[in-house]
Symmetry: C2
Subunit: 381 residues, 2 copies
């Protein structure tokens, strides 16, 4: 049976199994997405079972994630990484997205494993996401050139402590479609089944492609609990497909993606209570948001979705820009998510182009492991 | 930070993190349940978070389990093991139960790690569960004295293949209370809040203490889907407490246990569809059952609950005996669970005492790991 080294990292509110590309190559999966690499990941995670009971997967969208890391050949970049959303109840592996939580974890992983060299007092790991071509940076405190095992940083949605990681998304606009607003419009009207008049949404490409619907058009205030928001998942899944076509991310005959683009609803801020029971007042944030992850409500917000929202909010005429127009600091967007407030800092250049969106996150190594992969039972690689 | 070696095993439909008692001793947790051992497990699993996002726990009752294994000092017994149900959203660890799925995993683990010596063609590992004092055996095919990494065995509730393990519960009756029927009755009437007339149930102690209510008295047919059965969890949780008092497992001033005794409903067989979509006909099994695990429906049945049911069905006058009286083979009880049919073989001695209840199961090693335990950050053990 194949024995595969891997590290379980927490990045923010996700768990990510991180693999070294060299180990994957040794297992015969040097070819990247598709084929043997998918087989190995699906088997290691126990993906075909809806509870992932026969593997290391956690059977939720935020705990069924893998990353393959390699040294980068690009000048000025330390590492390249490939993100995999491993199927739950299906052997399929989705390769079309980036994951900001896993990027956070990978930044710390690179320092732990020597893929990036820690220097006093902080180290910035430069990273390239191979799925999307997006450039990211992870800045970690490394006093005396040592890599901390734990720190005092937290993220909304978890009380757990971790190493603080400032995650920067570099030049995030247009990585998938060539433009921040792929249709050229701040608002597009999209068709929906059983809704002849369609619905207004902003189609944006920054960090990840995303479709952000005006919550009010769906009788939502984007303040719902995760449980209540589940009722909107079917209509938003249909919206995701329509947006994928409109943004040129898919053709009508392509299989339907369950992860691209990101999809959710936005609304003006209102008072609400987080999943952990904390009260959040409308004045404490700028824009209410509820996102979908695969086929379920996202417990917080995907970081790439947060980047898309922050970039959209700085683009005049978009729905997020209109709904968050009263925010006190134009370049700071505070997002009200089911887990709490996520703050995105946007830095613009002289032309008004988004240069970096930074999110303050936390990560830690949970375990190092050797995984036994039954799909390759017959081989002893 | 504490670094702790551990092995992730699948046993049937559970995932269990198996720890060597020596490694736990080295971590200063030689004292057993309570104190430091609980702190280490809760921290390693990320127990305080309801999604166990900062640890190796799987955030469900069947994936938040740990076992600590040691060589036994008892003649004729290979290993002793201690089972822990690690909290989900709480740092609490429950030590009052045994877990049959983990026992299956531990049998294979003992052979893998040399705690028991494999011999041709099959090896029976003799085990003692320290939580309950129960004796168990795990019989594994070991051709040529080698331990298989995988086999062709499956269990209801999962399509995953594993090494076949025949799990025998030795002399299961009365381990907790001294008698198969602790009250001396086949049927007892228990009080319930908002139900002045009470409800009939069988209180049995075999494998684990269990309270088995007549489903009909709760307007149930014990054929519900897991989702529908959830509606009965609150009343069965109240029943568990009442039964704990009646069986002498707790005193009125003790804290309420969320796992002892096992609680569920039983009914005559009927046609139903399993969670995986398979049709099960009434003629294909003998007794319908729906059990509770902690505060949620059990997706299948706990193996110790299956032992309790099988032993109860062979005791005249109990509810299971009456409901399953038409079964074709008296010593074979086929249980219709949400995941499919679980078959228990009962062997009796000349006096009619239950000697062994055997269940055919599957197990495999998923990963070996070194866990980083932040609770002990300050120490380098």
């Amino acid at each position: 049976m194949l024995r595969l080294p891997a590290t379980l990292m927490r990045g923010g509110t996700s768990k990510c199994w991180v693999f070294d590309a060299e180990a994957m190559s040794a297992a015969g999966a040097a070819g990247g997405p598709g084929g043997r690499l998918d087989t190995i990941l699906a088997s290691a995670f126990g993906a075909t079972d809806p509870r992932q009971i026969d593997g290391v997967g956690g059977a939720t969208s935020t705990t069924s994630k893998a990353v393959i890391v390699r040294p980068s050949t690009e000048p000025g970049v330390d590492i390249d990484y490939l993100f995999a959303q491993v199927g739950i109840g299906t052997a399929g592996v989705e390769w079309a997205s980036n994951c900001g939580n896993c990027a956070t974890a990978v930044g710390l992983y690179a320092l732990r494993t020597g893929l990036a060299k820690p220097v006093h007092p902080t180290t910035t790991v430069e990273m390239r996401n191979e799925n999307t071509g997006v450039r990211l940076s992870a800045t970690v405190p490394t006093p005396g050139g040592t890599v901390p095992e734990l720190g005092e940083a937290t993220v909304p949605g978890s009380l757990a402590l971790g190493v603080p990681v400032a995650l920067g998304f570099r030049d995030p606009a247009g990585a998938n479609t060539g433009a921040l607003l792929p249709t050229g419009n701040g608002v597009d009207r999209l068709e929906l089944p059983h809704r002849p008049s369609g619905i207004d949404a902003t189609l944006v490409d920054a960090g990840a492609p995303a479709v952000l619907a005006d919550a009010a058009a769906l009788d939502s205030d984007a303040l719902e609990t995760v449980g209540d928001f589940a009722a909107l998942v079917p209509v938003l899944t249909a919206l995701r497909r329509g947006a994928a076509l409109r943004m040129g991310l898919a053709s009508p005959h392509d299989p339907v993606s369950h992860s691209v683009p990101k999809v959710g609803v936005v609304a003006p801020p209102g008072d609400y209570v987080t999943s952990l029971g904390e009260r959040v007042a409308a004045v404490d944030y700028d824009l209410a948001v509820r996102m979908v992850s695969m086929h379920a409500p996202h417990p917080a917000i995907g970081l790439t979705s947060a980047v898309a929202l922050a970039a959209a909010a700085l683009a005049p005429g978009t729905i997020p820009a209109k709904l968050a127009e009263n925010r006190p600091i134009a370049t700071l967007l505070r997002l009200g998510t089911p887990a709490g407030v996520v703050t995105a800092e946007v830095s613009l250049d002289d032309t008004g182009t988004v240069r970096t969106v930074t999110l303050h996150r936390a990560a830690r190594a949970i375990a190092t492991a050797e995984l036994f992969v039954p799909a390759l039972l017959q081989e002893s690689v």
